[in-house]
């Protein structure tokens, strides 16, 4: 067996060549480095999706604008939605889960480090695949929901890139879901019972269940779309007996749980932030856990509320309407628990806390309009207007994006070893927060006045001019906020001081490791004595975790390039799928790519990869 590599794991202390760093990331199976890849990838696509959003707002700045053409506008709105949901919000959340969840339960890595690496590469190359469409004759233009028959009849290869790109990225997400579930069930430190897990770990767990049961529906939907577009099947071809509503059902059976996949993790991380910066135990921990489960459970039975106007009939509509409204109850429990956590606490307001405080009213507005659009009769009026746009941006930006910013400010020291600058952080918050409400609050009224979504121009003097102008102005503020954040990240990377292990006087296990942690996380697995285990040690012990085991050799997985090669195979094969409709020679790419991927799988299965040991002596040598 190979001998442990003494890898100091920090680019700061040791200058390494760019090639070495690149190879390290290509082959890494370490959960923190995989998290870095998720975060870098997610940030890149977030900027891309942001640029697309800005183009939308410039186009709608004034009536009958001709900044972009109608066709290009369709591509922009499609790519904005798809990119933000699949390639920005989810990977950024998966990145934080990857970085923090193993630390919170006292694990040295995730259960399947190989799959973890495979998942991140599938996401990155799937995202690149999707965006390749810009350079190969036009991006998808059927909206992020890709309703048939608009999607099946869309000319060119845009929608093909959508189907194949999401298929690849989606497979990666599914793997992460399974990985996190097994990690949390099998690899908790001694004493870390389920009801002692920090809430972010809990929401990671429940989100993973959602991923596991939601994504396969998308997989099937995308397969049917691929078959119809690329191989001449007739699922959505009404002339041959097809049924276009099947796409809507499959898409939303995935799509509605997906919105809870986006929001539940940030519910968890807000719980951590409120508790830490109020210096109080989370109010109603148990009810928080069960509220999360209830939201996830109900999240699977409300998909058809996206389809009220399709004509399912009053009975089906009513059932889905009532089920949807029921979700307000567990969500309300959470909102009140957060407020009660702060109540009487020693509240400290910094940038992370500002995002958390801004989240509560923003998300509550989104929840309230959610009840409005859940009301069937009224939804006939709201459907496909800017009211819906305003609603889901209040939940996704006001919830998920604010949560991502909060989490990044909170965990930046743990993930990157630096504390973000407070002043810049506050500037980010205020510009983004004000810009967000400027952009989207007015859109409720634009929608109520009848402005439909996805239209590339509007007429003047219809009462829509001022509203759209204000909305576009808000986008400018949000952009400034994001730019300041990026500046902040670069600034602290170059100029910032190394962060302490526990900069926030934290309560949970991740703050007991160095910032950033060693790649084996702990020399000795800690013993957990209760909820908020570090806080217990701070108040009742000596402030340090008691080890649960003697110092002994640590078993760690080996780095490997196979996940990257496997992904590359799928990537090449994807192009084969898309272009075999034009020229049969592309079957070479299709089968060649598949062969590479399957061979990589075979090598992985047949090659013994039993990992390596970090010996006791090495661990002692690293004692500081």
């Amino acid at each position: 067996m190979s001998i442990a590599v003494s890898d100091k794991n920090s680019a700061v202390t040791q200058k390494r060549s760019i090639g070495a760093v690149l190879w390290d990331y290509l082959t890494t199976v370490d959960h923190m480095k995989v998290a870095h890849l998720y975060l870098f990838g997610g940030a890149f696509f977030f900027i891309l999706g942001g640029i697309e959003a800005v183009i939308i707002r410039i186009q709608l700045l004034v009536p009958e604008n001709d900044f972009v053409s109608a066709g290009f506008y369709n591509e922009i709105i499609t790519m904005h939605g798809t990119t933000m949901i699949f390639l920005a919000a989810m990977p950024l959340l998966l990145g934080m889960m990857n970085a923090i969840m193993p630390l919170q339960i006292g694990a040295r890595d995730v259960a399947f480090p190989f799959l973890n690496s495979l998942g991140v590469w599938l996401f990155i190359l799937g995202g690149i695949m999707l965006n390749m469409s810009w350079f190969f004759g036009g991006a998808p233009d059927a909206g992020w929901t890709a309703y048939a028959p608009l999607s099946t009849t869309s000319p060119g290869h845009g929608v093909d890139f959508y189907a194949v790109g999401l298929q690849i990225a989606g497979a990666g997400t599914l793997m992460s879901g399974i990985n996190f579930l097994v990690t949390i069930i099998n690899m908790r430190a001694p004493g870390m019972t389920y009801m002692r897990m920090p809430l972010f770990t809990w929401t990671t767990f429940i989100t993973s269940i959602l991923i596991l049961f939601a994504f396969p529906a998308l997989t099937v939907g995308l397969f049917l779309l691929m078959f119809d577009r690329m191989f001449g099947s007739a699922f959505f071809d009404v002339a041959l007996g097809g049924n276009t509503i099947i796409w809507q059902h499959l898409f939303w059976i995935f799509g509605h749980p997906e919105v809870y996949i986006l929001i539940l993790p940030v519910f968890g991380l807000f719980s951590e932030i409120f508790s830490t910066f109020s210096k109080k135990r989370l109010f109603g921990y148990t009810s928080m856990v069960f509220a999360t489960m209830l939201i996830a459970f109900l999240g699977f039975m409300v998909w058809a509320h996206h389809m009220f106007t399709v004509g399912m009939g009053p009975i089906a509509n009513t059932i889905f309407s009532v089920a949807t409204m029921a979700i307000a109850i567990p969500t309300g429990i959470k909102i009140f628990n957060w407020l009660a956590t702060m109540w009487g606490g020693n509240v400290k307001i910094n940038s992370a806390m500002l995002w958390a405080l801004g989240f509560i009213p923003s998300f509550t507005i989104g929840g309230m309009t959610g009840i409005m659009v859940a009301t069937v009769a009224a939804d006939y009026q709201y459907h496909d207007t800017y009211f819906v746009i305003a609603h889901f941006h209040y939940t996704i930006v006001g919830g998920t994006v604010m949560g991502i910013f909060a989490g990044l400010h909170y965990w930046w020291p743990k993930i990157f070893g630096r504390v973000l600058n407070e002043t810049l952080g506050k500037i980010t918050f205020w510009t983004f927060f004000i810009g967000f409400h400027m952009t989207f609050f007015i859109q409720h009224f634009l929608g109520l006045m009848g402005m439909p979504r996805r239209y590339w121009v509007f007429l003047e003097n219809q009462g829509l001019d001022t509203g759209n102008f204000i909305s576009s102005l808000g986008a400018l503020f949000m952009s400034i906020g994001v730019i300041v954040f990026i500046y902040n990240a670069i600034y602290v990377w170059l100029k910032g001081e190394k962060a302490a292990a526990d900069p926030w006087d934290g309560r949970t296990l991740e703050w007991t490791t160095a910032s950033p942690p060693e790649h084996y996380n702990w020399k000795q697995t800690p013993l957990i004595r209760g909820l908020d285990c570090l806080w217990i040690e701070k108040t009742e012990g000596n402030g340090k975790m008691t080890p649960a085991e003697p110092l002994k050799d640590i078993h760690m997985p080996n780095n490997t390039i196979i996940p990257f090669i496997m992904t590359l195979g799928f990537f090449i094969s994807g192009f084969g799928f898309i272009y075999q409709t034009e020229n049969k020679l592309w079957y070479i790419a299709l089968f060649g790519g598949m062969a590479i991927a399957l061979l990589a799988m075979l090598v992985r299965s047949l090659q013994d990869d039993v990992g390596h040991y970090i010996t006791k002596e090495e661990l002692k040598g690293e004692a500081k």
Partner: protein
Amino acid sequence: MSQDQILNPKSLPNSPEKATLEGKNKFLGLWFFLGGETVLFASLFGSFVALRNSTAGGPSSEELFGLELVFLMTVMLLTSSLTSVYAMYHMKNHDFKKMQLWLGITGLLGIGFLGLEIYEFTHYITEYGFTFRSSAFGSAFYSLVGFHGGHVTFGIVWLIAIMVRNARRGLNLYNAPKFNTFSLYWHYIDVVWVFVFTVVYLMGKVG
């Protein structure tokens, strides 16, 4: 103690497939994977049920299906589930040779099933002109049954790979979980076939 010694103990424990953390993780991870697969097949079944009467003037399921062939296929696949149970029984008794024997029989039954399925598909295409493209029913039929057949194919390749790889070295704590996860996967594919048989063929004949 090196990893080699841990994985090749002098005497194997009672459940060698779950004796290591990696083994436990694989076991649980595969169960979750099968949970996801359930949604995958449920979506395909849903689409099939919605489209099974959309023949667009082409042949319907009553005209196409012959239950004799499907019965034979069902018997072969369900028997292969039983033989894989025997294989796992011998694995737990640390009898590597007998395990390989029963796994081999499992694989042969799987190949037999697959051969009959390929015959069935060619029969429909050549005799009835019933293809993936002829109607929404055709698309849904070949997708659902084809996805199942694809899973069987993958399973057979997987089985051959791990059987050949470990043929010379026998059972240890590193490869026992691999055999066990294969067996779980194989059972699952058989369970899906029970539903295919009921929903596609039985309901297609009498429903």
